[in-house]
Symmetry: C3
Subunit: 212 residues, 3 copies
């Protein structure tokens, strides 16, 4: 396996599950079918686009390699067909989002690493790559971003997972094993937050400061 | 007429009508005059800026050619004067927005085409160029983006128009004729949605999936 | 003092106060601690990132020079500790935001100037640099951006301050004196708007045009 194939596969997997999550989110908003497809594609391509713009990687992944666009479109169409045949199970949007977060966060970290970035830049880049697709989806669907809901362990899961990945790798683990461990940590933390109510300490300020 | 002058003219027209739409939208929010001018300029320049960033075209259009800035400023001032002299006709914001969508979508498609992009990339790029200005305007004005209102044929109109443009061109039509046909299709679809209630099928998901 | 050190210092000061403002804003939303840190860093780095993307300055400031990341993180942690020890004074968020606006607007103008941009581009670039961090913060915290609240003199203050800076400089003033005057104008206008209710004329459109 060539060294770059892991993040390419992760990118395509992230594109597919974020496209599905875009359909599930837009489907609640009574949008027309082409509008749903556009939301799905923007959600799927948003994270990687932000990462490539920040790292000045041109042409962008989906411009250089048209399989990104077809993957997102195929995943969107498949999801539309699926949800019309039977209603999606509860929380399917959240699970798709958790997988996309894991794929994009680790893939983005790895790309930053290959570009020679330091650890803190790689963690931040991976976190932003993972988070951006879902934020764009939620903003375009006029929902409060998952990122912002208290105690959802959203950015936190990405930071923990990407840091674990870098630590394991610098401790000598194989890249793919470290990547799997990092993704497993992200998915586990998000699922624990969704299904078990796992929480981090919350910062509370008095409302005295609100001048608005 | 040199081959690149069509999209330059379309860009300037799009800048002018999106600046006017920014004034019309911001004017409902009781913003001060300089704030209105800033919203107008950001709306007018947002679509082209996104397109140039994604295609790595630097310097950006409005940095390389200061006439973009002056056009947006002049259109904003003219609109402010006009709406103070007499109230704008009903739905003038929507009509200005439809024109801007058409100009930017076809202009963006053409630029992607000239940069050697494939058809699907050109359609997506044109659609995003056309849509971005209005989304930025609506987000900054704390409105639900037109893109998201059910059955508005917003992204759909841009996809249909840019696809028509590319099909006509590959069927041998002159670029300017194909561009005019594409723009006419976009404006016609949007006006039919605004004034006649034309709709596309809507994707409806049950609300059972909402875990929030 | 080398000629570029002013805007580097301004950038770091802007990063620190915008990170503090991000903590103060996110702290009202009951976010967990890592989420607060992410909001603080994105707020702190957003303005400079937008400026560098628009000017095609790569690598980005915070990628080339890791002190930006550590400054934002240290300012965020210090603010978290501070607000837990004692509640922040009234309007501390608005004051931090006014300082960040001044530092980033003048710093961004200066960078555009050094890149050989014309006056109107430099003013617009400085204004966008100053405004972007706060807009990202407010959007991520699901607040109406300060930019949009009527009569807040927000974009207006940045435009006046950056224009004053350029005018003083072209009238022969030393860069650092002109920069201090520009920043003082921005902070003074914002504080006058916050504490004294200073206002600009507001554009009012009739609501007749609202077709939505």
């Amino acid at each position: 396996v060539p060294p770059t194939s892991l993040h390419h596969a992760l990118d395509l997997l992230g594109v597919a599950v974020f496209a599905a999550s875009g359909v599930l989110a837009a489907g609640r908003k009574n949008m027309d079918l082409l509008g749903v497809a556009v939301i799905a594609m923007v959600t799927a391509l948003g994270g990687g686009t932000l990462r490539d713009l920040l790292l000045d990687h041109h042409p962008l992944a989906w411009i250089a390699d048209v399989s990104y666009l077809w993957t997102s479109l195929a995943a969107a169409v498949a999801t539309i067909v699926w949800v019309r045949v039977q209603p999606p199970p509860d929380r399917s949007l959240l699970v798709a989002d958790a997988l996309g977060l894991a794929f994009f966060a680790i893939g983005g970290t790895e790309i930053a690493e290959e570009a020679g970035q330091s650890g803190i830049v790689a963690v931040l880049m991976g976190t932003m790559t993972g988070v951006a697709g879902g934020v764009v989806r939620d903003v375009l669907c006029a929902e409060v971003p998952l990122l912002l809901r208290s105690g959802q362990l959203y950015a936190s899961a990405a930071i923990v997972g990407t840091t674990l990945y870098l630590c394991l790798e610098s401790a000598g683990a194989a890249r793919q094993a470290a990547g799997l461990a990092g993704m497993a940590a992200i998915v586990a933390l998000r699922l624990a937050a969704i299904f078990r109510g796992l929480r981090l300490p919350i910062l509370r300020l008095s409302e005295r400061d609100d001048p608005r």
